[in-house]
Symmetry: C2
Subunit: 338 residues, 2 copies
Amino acid sequence: MQEDRRLAVLRAIVEDYVATEEPVGSKALVERHGLNVSPATIRNDMAALEDEGYLAQPHTSAGRVPTDKGYRLFVDRLTTVKPMSSAERRAISTFLDGAVDLDDVVHRSVRVLSQLTRQVAVVQYPSLSRSTVRHVEIVSLTPTRLLLVLILSNGRVEQRLVEHDAEIAGEDLTALRSRVNRAATGEQISQAATALNAVVDGDEPTPPAMAAVVDALVEAMSDHRSDERIAVGGTANLARFGDNFESAVRPLLEALEEQVVLLKLLGEATSGGAVTVRIGAEGPYEELSSTSVVATGYGPDDALSSLGIVGPTRMDYPSTMAAVRAVARYVSRILDEG
Amino acid sequence: MQEDRRLAVLRAIVEDYVATEEPVGSKALVERHGLNVSPATIRNDMAALEDEGYLAQPHTSAGRVPTDKGYRLFVDRLTTVKPMSSAERRAISTFLDGAVDLDDVVHRSVRVLSQLTRQVAVVQYPSLSRSTVRHVEIVSLTPTRLLLVLILSNGRVEQRLVEHDAEIAGEDLTALRSRVNRAATGEQISQAATALNAVVDGDEPTPPAMAAVVDALVEAMSDHRSDERIAVGGTANLARFGDNFESAVRPLLEALEEQVVLLKLLGEATSGGAVTVRIGAEGPYEELSSTSVVATGYGPDDALSSLGIVGPTRMDYPSTMAAVRAVARYVSRILDEG
DNA sequence: ACTTGGCACTCGAATACCCGGAGTGCCAAA
DNA sequence: TTTGGCACTCCGGGTATTCGAGTGCCAAGT
């Protein structure tokens, strides 16, 4: 009974604080929400919640503010991710449907996500590691220069230049091309790499430049630089951080340029289809103690890559989570079709 | 005589103001710099400079601050772009030499430029329009799907998928490939497009899918999306804008995401090898009235593309211009070699 | 066992006020 | 044309005061 009300109070405080940006007091609370009790009762509850660490007072005789722990409880137990309006759904789909290639999908996703949430959006490019080899093309640019083009199932195209000493005859090149494709096409990228290496070590006589070509391909496959690419958008929304520029915005801007940090943050989210929320100092980055990350995986099994938003701990979690989830779904669908 | 001193005063004020961020008064001026006159004299000069619009007073009985016009005169007539220290030169070259591909060059450039100037750096990707076609590859993915790979002299690789109805025999494909390459290879991108179109309209019988292939290639060539790409870095330096977040930083962040605006700003700079400076409201964007752009072209003839920085009007122009110029030169050199 | 009204208390935010000092403009003398 | 002198202005920072929202606690009520 009382327990129920306490949770209701916590929820109400979170909602009010998110909306007003000001510590919320007992009186205002009971007025704004339909609690049928007196302010004094609420005060007792608030005191209890504070003891348990869910609320905090900026200073004596000010209203209460949710702590990280309070937000945590809020998102874990008090939140029902509210569905997006059909208008929003339509906006997402039409905007994303206009994309012409992979890069464009990513860019549009960042954009729509940042506009929807009015936060800084972050989208990791689809990672190589899960995708399969669709085709390998080998082109002779000059007598001693080969261009390798590696086409992957996720739409990404990597190319490498290979120099070699001996000239290669046309038919050798054709043979090389077909052998490489036989070994790699259709394989997941990691298997493809080992399969290619096996070809070189095998019994069949290998054309002269084979080793160099295979090396370059394997390197291109295991080069996860493109795994690490990230698109960021909506930085202008940082303006709404309002106060504490030096303490909050600057470290965030720095983190946004340090892709490693971002990847770490997003990475935590890739597991299991749900939307993940990291609140305040829960992560290992102290400088980001006043920011939260809402992220989720996307792509097949939600395991291809991840996307999300970064914002102040004081944010509208339900809407934000809904937006992140919705965008992730649409992106997944589009990647599936493409 | 007096004219000379006035200019010296203007220069001194600009330098002091940039360094201290505070309006500079007559007394401080004559102390800090070796002017051999009394403060009263300086006051007269300052009053004159104010009449002419080069200085302004934030309020009565405060020191003077340069106006945009003042900065303009400063960069136009009072500035000798000071050479970079050899340490800085070395830093630039070693950092840039580590780049592995075109994207990497661009990214590293933004990075080094933003660190050097402690401003927001902006680098436009090398534009297609000036580059030549190095090679066109046509790969048959499935019987009815062709992959076109267009390799340009600036290192960029564009690819397009083409669907067609009729199946294409291997020798037809080879013929197609060689004819396309004969027409396009080595040509500037615009000429290549017209040459390709000419092939289709010519007398020789054209293989069935020729038209579709040519169309796709021409479209890829005239698709200037990659012209419009831009890399931005060093946004964390915006923190040093200090005051006026809403009025200055927010519009800037928004502009940084509106690539069109950035391109416009950079675009002005592409002409004639020198470093261009746009100060405050000189451009068409009123929201950016307290920011300056320092930019220059790079690449052969400095006409390939452009790079620069965006920062507050109150910035150290000589150093900044030097840094921009130095980075542009190194990037040009690297692109030349690659 | 909760809830509620009352009441004294706290503390930040806003307001008013004052003061010092840096800076100016102007004038008369050099 | 330069310079010293002088009266004046005005911002920034410090202090005092007030105001009010909000709290904690207690005793009474259900």
